[in-house]
């Protein structure tokens, strides 16, 4: 069986890019969501804002995701 080392390294790189980004983003999102739950318990009308706050942190995961796609698609 012929294994393409390039493809393997690309997949590894893409995996690391999205993996670490998602890890950090997940930790942050956990903190934001926990604070959001606390805020909503005190003031229910903050629900919308809390969700946006939690989603705010997701951006870093999306950057990682973009990098992963770029690695897979653009690197020859």
């Amino acid at each position: 069986m012929v294994v393409d080392i390039n493809l393997g390294l690309k997949a590894l790189g893409a995996g690391l890019a999205i993996g670490f980004a998602a890890l950090g983003s997940g930790i942050g999102q956990g903190q934001a969501a926990a604070a959001g739950v606390g805020a909503v318990a005190e003031k229910e009308e903050l629900f919308g804002k809390s969700i946006v706050m939690a989603a705010l942190v997701e951006t870093q995961a999306i950057y990682g995701f973009v990098i992963a796609i770029l690695i897979m698609v653009l690197l020859k």
């Binding site: 919308g48 804002k49 969700i51 946006v52 989603a55 705010l56 997701e58 951006t59 999306i62 950057y63 995701f65 973009v66 796609i69 770029l70 897979m72 698609v73 653009l74």
Partner: protein, 631 residues
């Protein structure tokens, strides 16, 4: 549509005798936000009336909460609200009058108190009888009149229990010292009644205690235990019957008076609001002054109402609000756009002079939502869901969300068809039907480019509005430092991309750009170039969520497909497909909503929108149970 509704300021001066009529007319019209006017003390009768109203409201609330124990006050469940409309309480409209309401309240208070007293008296009696019965029950089985168990000059009586195994021993130890012993054995304990000579009392009690005797209280009643127990049971049953009758009466009272009470409460609340409004008036000896804001398009209506209520004896002044005033904000959008006001409001209302971003939200939000969900089948599901929501809720935030989802679902279906997605690749993998322009999963690079390009367009619309806002506010520094440099960045990047290499033009632009940003207060100006690209890249989430929807759907189809073939496998496979797609639909529809919101709130609004306006809150009678004019 592009700005909050235009407001004008009005000032009305009228004679005191028209005060009541005018307040009532404006309250029912609900178009004027009242403001305080300087001058004059409120007259004594106004103060007194306020205290009186407050007292009546307190009494009504007390009655409502007292009666609520017996009749559940209007708790409409979600399910019921889907199928029925309107509260449907009957009330006597003649009671919507302060004096008559007060009379009705007194009568009701009297009846409620009487019944509640009767109820607690009965409950106390029942408790007493039950405890007496429990005492007698210890002597059940003895055929002795309990009144005969009394100490006499020479004898004493005691009763109690001893463990069964000690009974023999005890009796032999007592021997002839006692006059008589009656015993009745239970499973673990025997009950004994002992009559002995007073002289022997202490030795006898000593023997008893040694054998684990526990004393029982002998009740002071006449009759044998059997007779007594029968009598107690009968009495308790009678009392219970009476108690039930009283409870029934309380329930009837609650049912018959609840409608009227709710109507009275609403009527009093409205009267109280009117009283509150009157305190804002400025006063002279015979006249009063009121001031407020009116949406310009309702001015004619308000003026006509004022004219009618004062029979033409009022002075009405109208003026444009000054720019430095904090003018209340009323969003003013045509019907289809209105539900999106909810999203604007969730962020912040615009200031009075600021652009109302609702119409832009109405354009872009459903598109972004559609891109992130991109699946014709999920779109159809969402269409049905939003239709159900709109059917179930006549007004309010949930209905608005239903309408937003309805428009979004159309985009979802259109884009799903365009990119060949129906439950992911269900049709392709099971039926070999291919459709759509291209598949996002296989051309992620192309989709990424489209997402970022769409983001650039979106951001530039925001930028244009931002520049317009800065110019309108004559904020030159803000214009250059916060907005114009972005155009330079875009031009420089565009030149670079087009020419394929750094050219003199783009380098020159970059130098100018750096020079501007270096001068920006704070010293970290150049870093903002990063944040602009970050904002733009953030639109990659459009693709990311679309890919996630398609990817999970594909995985569900693949796993479900593994089982198909046999009957049992088919059932399992279909269950997996059903559950998997339901999960994917819910999680990604939620994600699409939140992320569309976020793209607007963070990236888009960051370009131009500040918000912070105060909502227009008109002086308006809110009615649920009663109708205008008390009818």
């Amino acid at each position: 549509m592009f700005y909050p509704a235009r407001m004008v300021k009005i000032k009305v001066v009228a004679l005191d005798r028209y005060e009541k009529a005018l307040v009532e007319a404006l309250h029912e019209l609900g178009a004027v936000e009242l403001r305080g006017s300087a001058g004059g003390e409120e007259p004594e009768h106004v103060k007194r009336r306020g205290r009186h109203l407050l007292e009546l409201i307190r009494r009504t609330d007390a009655l409502l909460s007292g009666l609520a124990l017996y009749e559940r006050i209007e708790k409409r469940s979600l399910l019921r609200s889907l199928f029925s409309r309107g509260a449907g309480f009957a009330y006597d409209s003649g009671l919507l009058h302060e004096k008559r309401a007060a009379g009705y309240l007194s009568k009701l208070e009297h009846r409620l108190n009487r019944l509640q007293e009767a109820r607690s008296r009965l409950e106390w009696k029942i408790e007493r009888e039950v405890s007496a019965r429990d005492t007698v029950r210890s002597f059940e089985g003895f055929d002795i009149d309990l009144s005969s168990l009394r100490d006499s000059e020479r004898t004493f009586v005691t009763a109690g229990t001893v463990p069964v195994e000690n009974l023999e021993d005890l009796l032999s130890e007592l021997g002839p010292r006692h006059i008589s012993v009656f015993t009745r054995s239970g499973e673990t304990h025997a009950t004994i009644i002992l009559i002995g000579l007073l002289d022997e009392k202490y030795p006898i009690i000593g023997s008893l205690l040694r054998h684990g005797f526990e004393r029982l209280f002998i009740p002071d009643v006449r009759g044998t235990p059997a007779e007594l127990l029968a009598r107690y049971d009968r009495d308790i049953a009678e009392l219970e019957e009476e108690r039930k009758k009283v409870l029934k009466e309380l329930e009837d009272l609650a049912r018959e008076s609840l409608g009227s009470l709710l109507a009275i409460r609403e009527f009093l609340g409205i009267e109280r609001e009117r009283w509150d409004a009157q305190r804002l008036f400025g006063r002279s000896k015979r006249t009063f002054t009121l001031q407020g804001y009116v949406p310009a398009k309702l001015l004619d209506e308000a003026a006509a109402e004022i004219h009618r209520a004062t029979e033409g004896h009022a002075v009405l002044e109208v003026e444009e609000p000054k720019t430095e005033e904090e003018v209340p904000v009323m969003l003013d959008n045509p019907g289809p756009i209105q539900p999106f006001q909810l999203l604007t409001r969730t962020y912040a209302l615009p200031r009075y002079t600021e652009v109302d971003p609702t119409f832009l939200m109405a354009l872009w939000f459903p598109l972004f939502f559609g891109i992130m969900l991109t699946d014709a089948a999920y779109g159809i599901l969402l269409l049905l869901l939003s239709w159900a929501i709109m059917r179930g809720f006549e007004s309010g935030g949930i209905r608005d969300i239903g309408r937003i989802l309805f428009i979004s679902s159309v985009w979802t279906i259109v884009l799903g068809l365009a990119f060949g997605s129906f439950f992911g690749d269900l049709l392709q993998s099971f039926l070999r039907i291919r459709f759509g322009i291209f598949n996002i999963l296989s051309r992620a690079d192309l989709a990424l480019l489209m997402a970022v390009a769409l983001g650039l367009l979106h951001l530039n619309i925001g930028l244009a509005l931002g520049i317009r806002d800065k110019i309108a506010r004559r904020d030159l520094r803000g214009l250059v430092y916060d907005r114009l440099w972005i155009i330079l960045v875009e031009t420089a990047a565009g030149l670079w991309l087009l020419q394929g290499a750094l050219s003199l033009g783009s380098v020159a632009l970059a130098v100018v750009l750096l020079a501007i940003l270096m001068r920006k207060p704070g010293g970290i100006g150049p870093l903002e170039i990063n944040s602009f690209f970050g904002s733009n890249l953030s639109y990659a989430r459009l693709l990311a969520l679309a890919l996630a929807t398609a990817g999970i759907a594909m995985a569900v189809n693949a796993i479900g497909g593994l089982f198909l073939g046999s009957l049992l496998g088919g059932i399992i496979g279909v269950l997996i497909l059903f559950g998997g797609h339901l999960f994917n639909f819910v999680i990604n529809a939620f994600g699409a909503f939140v992320h569309s919101m976020r793209l607007h709130y963070v990236e888009f609004f960051g370009m131009f929108y500040e918000g912070g306006g105060r909502e227009f809150s008109p002086f308006k009678a809110k009615r649920r149970y009663t109708k205008k004019g008390g009818a």
